[in-house]
Amino acid sequence: MNFRIIKFFIEESIISIKQNLLMSLVSIMTVSVSLIVLAAFTLLFININGTIKNVSNNLTLTVYLDKNITTTGISKVQDQLMLVKGLNGMTFMPKEEAWRNLKEKFKYQSDVVGLITNNPLPDSFTLKLASISDVDKMVKELNLIEGITDIRYGKGVVSRIRRFVQIFNYGGLAIVGFLLLATFLIIINTINLTILAKRKEVEIMKLVGATNNYIKWSFMLEGFIIGFFGSIIAIIFVNSVFKIVTINMQTYFPFIGLYSKNVNMLALSSLLLVIGLFIGILGSSISIHVLLKSIIKK
């Protein structure tokens, strides 16, 4: 393929887009809108996933020690706790401090608290978990440590979060998959319509001696151009909206953590470009293949 032919393909694609400007714009906008929806969902997915992880990471577990435990006993428990895998830190709460905190908490009900003369609370350790995934195994391990009498954690919350994370991950992947498929089908259909509108043109091209490969190349290049501009619009839109949302969220809702602010937007933009080009080229090549087949079959 020489330079003149390549130049010809590029010229032909541009002429074709210009002549079918409305259909080409519809194709470009379909690519853009589909990619924007895909990007928006991906960012939403990242945010929800981040929130879930944050909740999981802040989960704590409290172990209560024997009421009559000695200082040596507490040190022994602490030593053993340090050997437990999956802990992100621990805080010791002496029973005296716990009693003070309780009284402070119920200072307006001092008459009720005053009925209790002796401190009923035991010493305790608050353990920060690295992950909620092995919490059951950890609880079993902690139960074996001498001096620990009780372990408290949101068992129900843990299992619910774990289940939700699982469903969200699989469901999210499935939704992204379906969105990709829908994007692909919509774009193929739009490009198909654009190419079918040129049936007469393709027939004339064949009559004057253009080979199938020749016709395919010029249409695939057209698909490439549609995919390229479609993804560029989507990239500009997603990046601009993302910037505006991130800035406004930080200004007006600083208490809401945005996890997607750490997303590599360059990687996301590149991905959108690759998807746009891929479906543009594939969509046009499938459509022109079908059209040529129908012309040959007649």
């Binding site: 003149r4 007469k200 043109e201 001696g209």
Partner: protein, 226 residues
């Protein structure tokens, strides 16, 4: 040059458009295919162009069987056969771009393209309409543009399917005269037509068809048998 041997073409397995047809057209001949609608004239043109394949029999162009042509050979064949239609089949581009397109497909240089366009456009007399779009031209001018496109590659064969079907008598005669000139420049011309006046005035070979078979094949013939 063109030879058809026992050629049969059946559409949708039910309608026989051409039935066991034998025809030989020599180099540089000018042949009119005449006959009523459904006689098989257009099918014959399409078969020679290898736009469709026969169900049985063979077609030879320059002694080469076209049935076995691959896609590249078909493309090469069509560069050697110019074709015009009643509905012109022009791309929605200027006359110049329509003519350049055929040349660009072959990777011709800009200079050669311009030279070839100058050559054919003066032959058909459309020098002042190169920048016009088909919708800005009259029927006769469109057919001239179509004719210029058909001969830009200097084909050995020129096929015309009802080239004067949409034209007034003057424009029809002009087109036929240009085709006659092309024929004199060593191009075999095959014209399928209903135009009685043109056929009778030209006094060329006439192949009369009906129901997919040849009824009459006459040198210096006329539209109807006398």
């Amino acid at each position: 040059m063109i030879r058809l041997r026992n050629v049969t073409k059946i559409y949708n397995k039910t309608y026989t458009a051409i039935h066991r047809l034998n025809l030989h057209i020599s180099k540089d001949e000018f042949v009119f295919l005449v006959g009523p609608t459904g006689a098989g004239k257009t099918t014959l043109i399409k078969l020679i162009l290898r736009d469709i394949l026969p169900d049985s029999g063979n077609i030879y162009i320059d002694k080469v069987k076209t049935r076995e042509f691959n896609e590249k050979q078909v493309s090469k064949l069509r560069k050697n056969i110019g074709v015009i239609f009643q509905d012109f089949k022009l791309l929605n581009r200027t006359v110049y771009e329509n003519l350049a397109f055929v040349q660009k497909i072959q990777g011709e240089k800009k200079k050669t393209i311009k030279e070839n366009i100058d050559r054919v456009i003066s032959l058909v007399g459309l020098e002042n309409k190169l920048g016009f779009y088909p919708y800005q031209l009259s029927g006769g001018e469109r057919q001239k543009a179509s004719l210029a496109r058909a001969i830009i590659n200097s084909p050995h064969i020129l096929l015309a399917d009802e080239p004067t079907g949409n034209l007034d008598p003057d424009a029809s005669w002009e087109i036929i005269q240009i085709m006659s000139k092309i024929n004199m420049a060593n191009t075999t011309v095959v014209v399928a037509t209903h135009d009685k006046t043109v056929v009778d005035l030209m006094r060329k070979r006439v192949v009369a068809m009906h129901g997919g078979v040849i009824l009459r094949d006459q040198q210096l013939g006329s539209y109807h048998e006398f």
